[in-house]
Each structure stands twice: as structure tokens, then as C-alpha cells.
Amino acid sequence: MSIAVITDTLASMIRMATPLMLMALGGLLCQRAGVFNIALEGFSLVGAFAAIAVVQFTGGSVWAGFIGAMVFGAVYSSLYAVFVTRFKANNIIASIAMNMLGAGLTSYLLRTIFDVQGAYSPDKIQKLDMIKIPIIKDIPILSCLSGQSIVTYFAIALVIIIYIMLFKTKIGLSICAVGESEVAARTAGIKPDLIKWEVVLMSGALCGLAGAYLSTISVSQFSEDMIQGRGFNAFTAFVFGNAHPIFAALVTLLFGLADAIGIRIELLGMNVSPSIIKMFPFMFAIIALMTSSYTTKLKKLGVIGNKKKKEKIA
């Protein structure tokens, strides 16, 4: 493979990873505060729709789309926050409800607002210029970092910001404390429900932005179910990354790589079915989860297994 192909693949990896990274950051914030949020998919879908709708009504402004997506993502997630704080609903059930409602709501609004089915492209959309970073853009391979969208750089900055927030600030300490033990946090004078509201709203805004990235930068339209399981991949990424912003971001890059390679294989016209290629990131997700659960199991085996019995097996 030539250097150009590698650079190209890596650049594509970063593009693919950007929305995952944003969603994973939102998810891990919730995870740290003890909210089991697998509604990332639904939040992002609402964000993707909101972005396109706002772009249409503002006459093509992508920036307005971003902000609209974050606001509506947060508004939509507040429903989830009500479920998990006010009504103490089972987090998983509430997440599933949010995902299903997201799918239904967007296709309903698609029909009532834009009078179309399946997909909608705004009349006008001012595509953002990709940002070229001087010097880096001329270095082979590293140049994959240049020429990305503003959202990508924002996502990378957020990884660092959220890392600092979680481990170096007061609010981060409160978030981790609530996740560790709600009662104990309460006795220390922290309001767990308030913290949960905060993280869920942040995850809503982050997922909204991720959705906007998909609908306004990756493509220029909203289509039904356009998140296509990325929310669940992001979930896998932060679980596998131990809810640590930097590790989780690295895992999203791996998923992005799987995606990018899949696309390359397709482009090269190799005789492989596109469906199989699209399976790549999901297979990777399963392998990732298996590895992490297997290592946990190995540790436990020392307890459960009788030495003699193990020898017999060996």
C-alpha cells in the first residue's frame, strides 16, 4: 500500500470516528455518574434531524444547524433525565423508549414539516470549508490530521476538556462520587439528581452535535434511521475504554478504522459483499466486548476452578 492510500485511510478513520467520539464522551459522562445511558442512538437521531431542520429554516446556515442540534439534543434528553431522576425508571428501559421515540418522532416530523418520506435535503446548505493545518498538511501520513472539519477538532479538544473536567475539577469529582455511591454522595451534601440532570443534558448536546455532523457534514440530508447503530458502537467504545475519555476516544478511532478499511475494500472493487464490509465495526464491537469480558472471567476462574480439575482439563 502506498503512503497516499494509508494517509487517505487514516483521514477517513478520523472522519468516521468523530461522531462516535462525541457520542462516547456523552455516554461516559453518564456512566461516571451512574446513569446507564444507551439512548445515545436516539439523542443523535434527533440531533441529526434538528440540524437539517434548522439549516432549512435559517437559509442554509450550518453553524445554526450545529447549535440547533445541540439545543434540541439537550431538550430531547431532558425527557430521559426526567425518567431516570424524577421517576427512577429503569435506565435500560428508558433508553430503549428514547431510541424508539427518536426514530418515530423524526419520521413523523419529516412527514408533517417537510412532507416527504425517507429522506430530506435542505434547499440550500453552506458547506463548511475543511480546515487545513499548515506544516502538518505537508507531512506524509500525519497530514491525515489536516483537512478535517471544525467539529472533528472540537471533538478532540473535548476529549481533553472532559478529561480535565472529570479528574481535576469539583464537578468531575461530584460526578464520579454519584456514580460510585449515591447515598454516600448525598451524605456529603451533593444532590445526585442534579448531577444526573447535568450529565444527561451534556450527553444530549454532545449526541446532538454528533447527529448534526452526520447530517450536515458527512452527507447533506436527513434520512430515517441515519445513525445506523453508531450510538451502540459509541456505547461499546466507552465501556471498552473503561469510561475514560482518552481510552474511549482511542477505541472510537479503532472503530473508525474498521469503517474506513471497509470502505477502502469496497472502493478497490474487491469481490466482497458490501453487507459483509458494513459488518466490520459491529464484529469489532463484539470482539472488543468479548475480550474485555473474557479477561474479567479469567480472573474469576482462579476462584471457581479447582486446581485438580483444571489440571484434568489441561
Binding site: 475539577t169 460510585e180 447515598v183 480472573k299 486446581k307
Partner: protein, 510 residues
Amino acid sequence: MAVAVEMLNISKFYPGVIANDKVSLSVNEGEILGLIGENGAGKSTMMNMLYGMTAPDEGVIRLFGKEVHIQSPNMAIKLGIGMVHQHFMLMPNLSVLQNIILGNTPTKHGLIDEKQAKNKIKKIMETYDLPVSLDEKVYQLSVGEKQRVEIIKALYRDAKILILDEPTAVLTPQETDKLLEVMQELKKQGCAIVFITHKLREVMAITDEIVVMRKGVVTGSLSTSEANTGGLSDMIVGRTVNLDIPRGDYCPGETVLEVQNIYARNQRGLPALNGVNFKVAKGEIVGIAGVEGNGQAELIDTISGMIYPTDGKIILEGEDVTEKNVRQRREDGMAHIPEDRLGMGTAVSCSIRDNLILNRYYQKPYCKNGIMNNKKLHQLSERLCKDFGVKTPDSTYKLGTLSGGNMQKVVFAREMEANPEFLIAAQPTRGVDIGAIESIHHKIMEVRDSGRGVLLISAELDEIFSLSDRILVMYEGEIVAEFKRGEVDERTIGTYMTGAKRQGDKNGEK
């Protein structure tokens, strides 16, 4: 000296229950109040109201003469109240420093100012002699250290009023002494302390005033100088209690259980038992003392068959049962009262009857060809409830409706009905009140006197001392000392429990 806390005519009603009925108490600055009573007497409810966890339905709370309505722990903290809960309110995966500053974090440019926090904490640690390493994670600390963190946490928030909810329940005698010293120091500095405990000795040793509660009302309020332990325990129970259990002569028979060089790992896969050897004979109670987490749980699990040892042998009545599973061991004559009554000992949402038959439900005559014989079951459960004094209108009630002491009686009845030759009793009286302790101790003694073997594991040294014929001390997965009944006092055992000493070290000395 000024009055720090006054709680006047406090009442708290829960549906169907009066938790507190016109309870009054007060504490002065520089004074320690002992608050005693059985479980469920309403002590914790009182303190939860003072700490803002719940609100009283009637009555007035005054702090330093000013009436207050404490609505949240946050508010209580701001008013200068600190509470050390019975179950530590610490985050195991956060560092000691993070745990202390949580909720009251100094910041600089938006980031946590660790230096400032550390300086303040170090000052507290020096003043009260409470050393803890700040950078360690809490799960790495011993129980005594965790408690120190809790106290520092309260002092860090400038608490003037300290509530200590059964702080000594989990401590070794040495750690308890240390805590009492710290309390003296706090008292000298003008703190008002409410000290909840079950141990009358400690109450007599350190408090200035005593309030006794029973069933939600105050049954005694006196100053310590006028009190004596006998009178106090009568006030606690409402009748005369005798914890001196009569015992038959000690005449051990043949060995019923032998543990040979057992090695095992804990749930994290780390070594928990490192070559444990001992025997239990028929007609004796062998007590295992030790600070929790030194392999007792793994020892119980290995003997009962919940986990398999990585090496070594377990011999029950001359037969090697190392490879046998739980049911086979039970059928060979082993019974087991688990340490975790709710998790392992019982099924809370099942009926009392079902719980009484859990170990034999598949046997005749209770089950024929896979069909349960409800009539036989009902006869059995009604008889057991009567024999063992389980207080319930009907054995078809859910087990969860019973109190801790009655639940334990159900477990006991079930295990004894199988007529075992060997009984493992792990923390048999944990969390049950003094009246139930008395009856459970009598039952254990009956097992011994009827010529069967008992292995007693308990964190309560009092219990070990009052029941055991022989006492083994466990430290870091090994038996470090063995004593005969009456040969040793609590203080000596304590030095072995903390690993300061072991019997191999002092050759020849008895």
C-alpha cells in the same frame, strides 16, 4: 457549658409504625452522649432527623439555642453537624483526599486546589492524631483507617457536633481504644458527640450522659456516673437478660471436621487462604476470631462447598469431601448458617414455609415424583415456627415481613431440622437485637451439648468468648494462634488479630 443540640418531643411516624414518640435529648459542648437501645428502637431515626436525612413529624430541634429546620444533609453540614455512619459513606475507588474534600472542594482557577486541601487536612490529622495516607484509594484501607477518614471528613467541614453511629462495631479492641482516645481529644476541643453503640462497656467508659431508647420511646435518661451495666441492659430490653449461657462439661468426642492445609482465592483472584489447618471435634464449639477480610469468608465458603480450594483437603466425618458439592456435603451431615442472611441465608420474597424447606425440598416426604406435598410442608413449618419461636401469624407470610432476629431463627430452624453432625455458624447474631442474641446463643449451645460440632465465625469478640471451647485467630488467611477457653483475654487476642504477634514467634511459650 452551652447546650449544643436539643431535640425536644420529637415524633416520627411511618405508615403503621411509630418510629419515635416524643423523644427528647440534649448534648452540651464538650460532652459525650451515649445513645443506646436495641435495633429498631429508633436511635438511627433520631440521628437521621438531626442529620437532615428525614424530617420529624412533630417536635423541635435547636442547635446552640436556635431553632432549626434541617432539610438536607447539606444543610446539616453547614450547621456544623458531622455524621460517621455505621456503613461507611465512602467511595471505594476514589482516593482518600477526594473522599474528604467531596462536597467541600477548594478550587483555584476552576481546578481543584489539592495543596490547600492537603494543608487543612494535615492540620486536622496532627491535632487529633488521625494519620491516614491521603493518596491511597479507599478500598485499600483497613476498616479502622476508613473510619478515621470518616471522622476527618466531618472535621474538615468544621463539625462542632459529631454523630457516631455504632463506630466500634467493626473495630478490633486496639482500634476501639484508639477511637475512644480520639473522642476524648474531640471532647476536650469542645465538640459535642452523640455516640451510638451496643457495647455497654464503651458507654460506661467514655460518655457523660446516657439516653436509653426502646420501641421509639426514651426508657432511661441518666448521667453515666449514676449508671451500671446491669441496669442499662434491663432498660434496653425491658426485662432482665442473661448472656451467660449455661454450658455442659467440655468432653470433646471424635473429630467431625478436619481442614488440611487449605489454599483458596478470593473473588478478585487473590490468595485468601494460605494453608489453613484445624479440627473440630464432636461436642465442642470452635470459634474463629479475626478482623473481617482476613479469609474468614473464604474459609466458610470452602468448607461449605461454595468455592473449591486450590489446594488442601476437607474431611467430614472421616470422609474426603473436598470434591463434593454443597448438596452432597449437606447430605453428609453439614449445616451452614451463612454470614449474609439476606443474600445467602434466605429468599426474602418467598414465604417463611418455603424458606424452611430450602435445604430439603426435594426429599421425601416433602416431595414425591417432583410434586410438593403442601400439607406435609405446612405441618413442618408450623411446628418449626413454634419450636424455634419465630414470631409470625402464619408461616405462609413472606419472609421479608420478619425482623432480623426472626429471620435468623428461620435459618436456624431449617439448618437444625436436617439434623447435622457439624454446623457452621457465621456471624449468627449480626444485626439482631439483644433478646434474639440470647436465644440464638442458647440454641448454639444446645447443638454442642447434644454432642455435635460447631464452627463459629464472628466479628464480635464477646460472642466468641462466651461460646467457644477453643478459639482460633485468623490473620491474612492463616491461623496465627490457638487458645483454650479461659486461657486468654480480649486484649491478647487483639494483638494477634492485627498481626502484631503470632504464636510461632514465641516458641515454647503458652
